[in-house]
């Protein structure tokens, strides 16, 4: 719709095509008494005092509306699906070339290992910023083999990387259902109720301890919170890449959690030093002195060792369960 058309169409018709205009009007506290008015009429009725409360001039408000509609239009067009993301090596902190090219593919798990401060965050930041040799590492990022459009850098709706870490908490004063609904609505997902059901079922499956839709998100246990964050990110977040930062044994089934992300076609990057998690990945990027020093592909021997590690892990889990239920560990 052309700008003058947008301003001269009755709201009742506009809202059919642009339902999200309600959010825009609401965020400026503009109430619509008669939906037969046009935006032009609605805006011209705004008094000087009201504009002052809005904090924009009449022209700025009109421009905001146009930009908002244009931005939302671009959102509906969708972005190209990320089928392949390539990281072309740059340099470490001493200027030594990385000499590598890494392909990240949906459904694949890549672990990132290295000491604190070694440059793990910088690698992620390079991906998120779709670096084109213009970051301190000089790396290049390609999407589907092409130099990507700059819109990836600034789009709020299409961020490349979603992050999940041990330090993250829920801070909103909402119940689980309200929270997931709010997230779904902000993403303009069509079948909201269906998604809420799906996410809560998945989260409960990951967490073990069942929570209801009416539980306030701030009173979920550590494991439940993590499970809800993972299920929500897997199903609702549009970001094709998920970074998991040190998810420890916090009462969630990590194997199932990774399987869910893989099943939802995410590119999974995992910063971890946990042996079981590290071997679940197809490979490990070793970061040293700001650069990718080594790429280790998980070998068949390692994979068979994983089975053994899992046996040990289950034994430890069983001991944990015994402690929880008040037993003693005098007999192992």
């Amino acid at each position: 719709m052309k700008p003058d058309e947008l301003f001269s169409t009755a709201l009742v018709h506009l809202l059919v095509q642009y339902p999200y205009l309600t959010d825009f009007l609401d965020s400026f506290a503009l109430s619509v008494a008669d939906s037969n008015v046009t935006i032009a009429e609605l805006f011209s009725d705004i008094t000087a005092d009201q504009l002052d409360n809005i904090g924009l001039t009449h022209e700025q408000l009109c421009q905001s509306l146009l930009d908002y509609v244009a931005g939302m239009g671009a959102l509906n067009q969708g972005f190209d699906k990320v089928e392949r993301l390539s990281v072309i090596g740059g340099f470490d902190k001493d200027g030594v070339a990385e000499n590598c090219e890494i392909e990240l593919i949906p459904g694949q798990i890549t672990c990132i290992v290295g000491a604190t401060g070694s440059g793990k965050s910088r690698l992620l930041a390079d991906i998120e910023w779709v670096a084109q040799g213009d970051t301190p590492t000089g790396r290049h990022i390609l999407i589907n083999g092409q130099v990507p459009d700059a819109k990836w850098r600034f789009s709020i709706e299409h961020k490349l990387v979603a992050q999940l870490s041990q330090n993250m908490n829920f801070v909103m004063d909402l119940t689980v259902a309200e929270f997931v609904r709010m997230h779904a609505e902000s993403r303009f997902v069509p079948d909201v109720d269906d998604k809420i059901g799906q996410i809560i079922a998945q989260a409960n499956d990951l967490a073990g301890e069942v929570f209801s839709v009416d539980t306030p998100i701030t009173s979920l246990s550590g494991g439940q919170s993590r499970a809800l964050m993972i299920a929500d990110t897997a199903i609702l977040s549009k970001s094709p890449i998920v970074l998991i930062d040190e998810i420890e044994n916090a009462g969630i089934d990590r194997k199932k959690a990774l399987a869910l992300l893989v099943q939802e076609e995410k590119i999974v990057l995992m910063a971890t030093h946990d042996p079981i998690l590290a071997l679940m990945g197809q490979r490990r990027l070793v970061i040293k002195n700001g650069g990718i020093a080594k790429i280790i592909t998980t070998s068949t021997v390692e994979r068979s060792n994983l089975v053994q590690l899992e046996v040990l892990d289950r034994q430890l889990m069983a001991l944990r369960q015994r402690i929880r239920s008040g037993e003693t560990l005098e007999q192992l």
Binding site: L56, Q63, R187, D232
Partner: protein, 247 residues
């Protein structure tokens, strides 16, 4: 010299974000200076000085900090030019949500944090709605979903801005911010420049030191809550206005 105005609610992380961005800018051999505006007390100037960043501090005291800012920024620009800075960053706290420190044709940044609540973006006036760049901080401690919802609420009230997540502690996102700041316009003087939006107004007896409460002591630009209607919505403010001062 390039000029950037940075503002944002108290404790949103302005100083941390600026320090991280400066660290990235200094790698390009740029000379950056800071003017720190605050109200009663601030030690942030020491944080800048400790890193060898030329800094001046202005405390507004009993005056509206926004008005204090606009009456001083021109001289601050002259100071920056005299110091031969490549870029001057002004930092001012938006102590009321109605602050309006952004200047036409001068790069305007607003810093706002994820912990402030998703209702916050629409409560903040010209400081956020008129900014060119909105920096969202404290993303490392809230969930992915809350970050996404918060950012989309920011975009609702300021669709034209570039919205960036910056971590003031680790510096994640600061390099990216610094590349945007290097695009800031050059400023030779602020003579003849204008604010993007008018500042909060106040011209009443209390501005002049009145302390007594009561109708008979209120003179000037006074506004009243419409208690009959429950709350003072923007659309009822006209009828609820007290004594008006002719403009």
């Amino acid at each position: 010299m390039q000029l950037v105005t940075v503002s944002g609610p108290p404790s949103s992380g302005k100083t941390a974000v600026i320090l991280q961005a400066i660290a990235a800018l200094q790698k390009q051999e740029l000379k950056i200076g800071v003017i720190k505006f605050d109200c009663l007390l601030s030690d942030d100037d020491k944080l800048y000085a400790k890193r060898g960043i030329p800094v001046r501090k202005g405390l507004s005291g009993a005056l509206c900090p926004d008005h204090y800012f606009v009456s001083n920024i021109e001289a601050c620009v002259e100071w920056g030019l005299h110091q031969k800075l490549d870029m001057l960053i002004s930092e001012s706290a938006g102590l009321c949500n109605r602050c309006s420190p952004h200047i036409k044709e001068v790069a305007a940044v607003c810093v706002i944090d994820n912990l402030s609540g998703i209702g916050t973006p629409k409560k903040i006036g010209p400081m956020l709605k008129g900014a060119d760049i909105v920096v969202i901080t404290k993303g490392d401690i809230v969930s992915q979903a809350e970050r996404e919802v918060f950012a989309s609420r920011v975009r609702q009230v300021n669709p034209q801005a570039v919205i960036l997540n910056v971590n003031g502690i680790t510096g994640q996102g600061a390099f990216e911010l610094s590349t945007l700041l290097t695009d800031a316009a050059q400023v030779a003087t602020l003579k003849g420049a204008a604010l993007r939006f008018s500042m909060p107004a106040a011209l009443c007896s209390y501005c002049l030191g009145e302390t007594r409460i009561g109708e008979e002591h209120q003179v000037g630009n006074v506004r009243k809550i419409d208690l009959e209607r429950g709350q003072c919505q923007p659309h009822c403010s006209k009828s609820a206005q007290g004594v008006e001062v002719s403009e």
